[in-house]
Symmetry: D2
Subunit: 336 residues, 4 copies
Amino acid sequence: MIVVMKAGASEKQINTVVKRVELDGFATRLVQGTERTIVCVLGDGRPKEGRIYEVLDGVEKTTRVLRPFKLTSREMQPMDSTVPLNGVQVGEPEIAIIAGPCSVESREQLLETAHAVKEAGAIALRGGAFKPRSSPYSFQGMGEEGLKILAEAREQTGLPIVTEVMAPELVPLVGEYADVLQIGARNMQNYDLLKAVGKSECSVLLKRGLMSTIEELLMSAEYILSGGNKNVMLCERGIRTFEKYTRNTTDINAIPVLKDLTHIPVILDPSHGVGKWAYVAAVARAGIAAGADGLIVEVHPHPEEALSDGAQSLKPEKFAELVQQVRAIAASIGRN
Amino acid sequence: MIVVMKAGASEKQINTVVKRVELDGFATRLVQGTERTIVCVLGDGRPKEGRIYEVLDGVEKTTRVLRPFKLTSREMQPMDSTVPLNGVQVGEPEIAIIAGPCSVESREQLLETAHAVKEAGAIALRGGAFKPRSSPYSFQGMGEEGLKILAEAREQTGLPIVTEVMAPELVPLVGEYADVLQIGARNMQNYDLLKAVGKSECSVLLKRGLMSTIEELLMSAEYILSGGNKNVMLCERGIRTFEKYTRNTTDINAIPVLKDLTHIPVILDPSHGVGKWAYVAAVARAGIAAGADGLIVEVHPHPEEALSDGAQSLKPEKFAELVQQVRAIAASIGRN
Amino acid sequence: MIVVMKAGASEKQINTVVKRVELDGFATRLVQGTERTIVCVLGDGRPKEGRIYEVLDGVEKTTRVLRPFKLTSREMQPMDSTVPLNGVQVGEPEIAIIAGPCSVESREQLLETAHAVKEAGAIALRGGAFKPRSSPYSFQGMGEEGLKILAEAREQTGLPIVTEVMAPELVPLVGEYADVLQIGARNMQNYDLLKAVGKSECSVLLKRGLMSTIEELLMSAEYILSGGNKNVMLCERGIRTFEKYTRNTTDINAIPVLKDLTHIPVILDPSHGVGKWAYVAAVARAGIAAGADGLIVEVHPHPEEALSDGAQSLKPEKFAELVQQVRAIAASIGRN
Amino acid sequence: MIVVMKAGASEKQINTVVKRVELDGFATRLVQGTERTIVCVLGDGRPKEGRIYEVLDGVEKTTRVLRPFKLTSREMQPMDSTVPLNGVQVGEPEIAIIAGPCSVESREQLLETAHAVKEAGAIALRGGAFKPRSSPYSFQGMGEEGLKILAEAREQTGLPIVTEVMAPELVPLVGEYADVLQIGARNMQNYDLLKAVGKSECSVLLKRGLMSTIEELLMSAEYILSGGNKNVMLCERGIRTFEKYTRNTTDINAIPVLKDLTHIPVILDPSHGVGKWAYVAAVARAGIAAGADGLIVEVHPHPEEALSDGAQSLKPEKFAELVQQVRAIAASIGRN
């Protein structure tokens, strides 16, 4: 950490900063520039909130030198981690495609979709039984009944289940049915929930919050890893920006950045990223071209009747085309 | 709701939309413009996700006519609601000032602060016992022990307690000690938590998510009101924007907008809104001038030793000045 | 256009709106919903600022039905337009790659780069002679001398020149040397400049402002097309968001959206989009996979000595690799 | 400037950075932390683009220590500067209120407004003769004829004229009629224009770009000051964010921040900041409470007939109320 003093900070002010920092157990080095003095703080300051020194007289700002995350960092673990999913090791060259409806709406709807996405090439089935909805008047999901339908679909198709868990006390219940617990964007910083899935046996798909930074995503993953669960996948799903023609803005940059900063596999959700079915395939192709390890795509046999996210859901035949295109892209960059 | 057809949409496409909408129980009216046809959907479409019709062939977009919220709307209840807090009715002309440290760190720290903010003019005490922290390596709060210290401070000073609750299953515990349950920004869309506080006897201070629109804030309040709890206060606390010189961007516009759209009282948190103690008083004054019903301000007797948010905490003497300034502003616009 | 009245708007208020709209030469249709009345405005309201009706008593909001752009719209011209560039028709399946340094810094630097990018597969040379710099203390470009060096490079390599023009009165001078006039992001809404290039014989590369919506980009293109110049290419180059790990956020969604809304070719600038050389190739691949018609890439033989944008410039050998990767992607989606 | 090396950077890499920095004429100091080495760069690095060192092997990132602006900085000039305007020194305690229509539309409209705003307490008249409009089909302003009408209004009322200039070559013409040249938000980084007004005798009102940072605003002011023109006022007018209920988000934080960072007077434009007339007075009050030195407000006698910005224009009687409210606020904080 570096503490930048104001131009004209007095010797007494500088000394106060030095003493305060040393009281916290760090060593210091002073560097006197032409206009400003900086106090370099030596030692692992990650647990420390650096901004606190900004309250001292004569301090202009503080700047972090170390990255705030550890276990998720590629510095700590240079080799890619992989997460097993239906015979694929997500994070290895083979691309993992997860697909299914936004919500489980009925047994018929889910089974129909499950068979269709399997045939098209998906290796896992997504579907929400517990749904976070911004309106209390909207469909809130089928709950445990939905989980049972998901389990039946797995039995019929062999596809493992990816489904959202929204509260810490539901982790055991959802974990009984699911193969992969999804943490939704709105819960990326629900720390009690992160701690709970950190102790689960299930793999975790952690979605980036729609206004969370890449660093914050990695810090949330840090909660899960430090809880003991190493089977984590990160999911870029679009961020909120001023552009409103699309539902969100897919942060395509985040894919190479994450692959650089962390060893954890990275999945793209083009459906939420763009929010309109007609653009989903283009964004999915972009994600694989940029280096994503897989995709999670919303598919519904009758999108116009979907209880949620119909506008961004692909019909099975469009999804099958997407899989073909994405495989061609993957092959062209040496993946399969 | 309005469904705008593409230029050149066929009669058949239009008919399909009409039939689909009517199947959902709505009446329709067609309006034929020079370039496009629009289908007006008649009836209360709030529970319905309008975007779903965008999946039909020939549809360009859908637009909502009704506001998505009801119970929180001033249309539903034109008169201001008020929330009782230590003899003040928040929402009436008298300004409510809540103050205290970010976290409860020790008995000494909290009691010292409680007496200081009371003397300066605060009518309630804030302080976090359970803390959401972006890093698993940061101080996570004192938990129930912190709640007990808060209760002792109330006993000594008579100030009611405002404290955060982070998980649905903790609502009974925190509610046993608190007067006002705070929903933090990161939990504004934690719907299980909103449902839980909707059934609590305590008042609720609902903070706007740093990524949430004004409408989404009102939809979250709708969850609480529809659960039966009418003692809700909204809190603007700054949103995340591209500007990084300050921690967040205080959305001052939100104050008159909220006072227009809803009958619920509006509180401003200038400490998180700007993130640096030196600017807190100016933003606090602005909030009251813009029509806020109160303030929630971080105060710490020794900010340079705070375990969280020290950089944005005021010392008690600075807070006392702020109270004087804010009272002068309030008086100048006919409040007290 | 649609005017949504407030719940409880009086008949008199509705009549006033109707009269006011008709005074502007439009026909109207009233639609009475369960809670609100809407006034449909019939006729081409593009030249009209619809928000003006919001000032009338009883009006809640106005909503546009027609898209604000015409000449740039695919509705107007369903077939792709193409722009000739060194034997390629940009907009046809063949991918166009433009490359070169941010600024012309010297004759040696530019000629070395020109030969290198040609060899690697670029079909045009970029390089700035007039540079918009946020600091008055930074290098401001070589001016006309830089243009002469660009012309010499064209003579040696045959590569056409893409270079920025910053002021209307410089359009004739820059147009004398350039093949393609670049409008930089900061000037996307410099309307006098748009009008000036609208009358030029040169092709135009219009970069999206870092703060501009897709619609605003199309409206700026509309200025150029309505001036008579049809050889326009649009360039996505990243937008400003809250994410600060990268310099900008490449709006990958914008590529399929633009290809849908307009017939004008779309180019991606991955260098500004991500801002760090190590991530440029991944984002370039993503752009082509998403459907971009070409790329504009910053290349510098000695990035650590560049006078601007060194951090995001590729060395020629890295650029050559990028071209290979991008060609493989293009081939995999049926382009070349 | 500080160059942070990657964890595990080799001695050779560190030496290369040191040599490269010293080649640029700076001294260096190495500080060896527990995980990383930092290279402190000593000397005035403002003209230098620090990011360039990020291209060197082993470098993680660079961080600026000095503020990039000089002449605009309060460090350089601790005392407030003031700009004379109709007998007021803007920047001194007296509040300066500028008002008038968005555009000059006719002689009658402007003269009526000029008299009305004068009577209500404005000390200067705003009005655009050259208008930047996002659509080529919208009203583009009356041009020089509008300037003549403004001059006539000044003659009749004694109010000085604030009007926008959009292109460098128009500075002499507009300067002939205007007292204060306004640089609009879209032109905040039109550097040729900034250089041109830097040489003008007129005062300058520099509006913040709708997606420009506070630092970028100060850098643009630096262009004007370094050109020799010291009569500059800064204007906060709202930034673009994800919140779309209002036209922009007034960055109220920017007011105390600017008053801290610079000696230049700060004006607030609440009309563009919020975009709806009903909320303008609240935001205007907030601006003065936060420490702004003045306001610029859109007033139109018949907003429903305005050719631009009608929705955010106040009628003269509402403006007169606003002036009263704002004066009361100013008095309550010791201004007048």
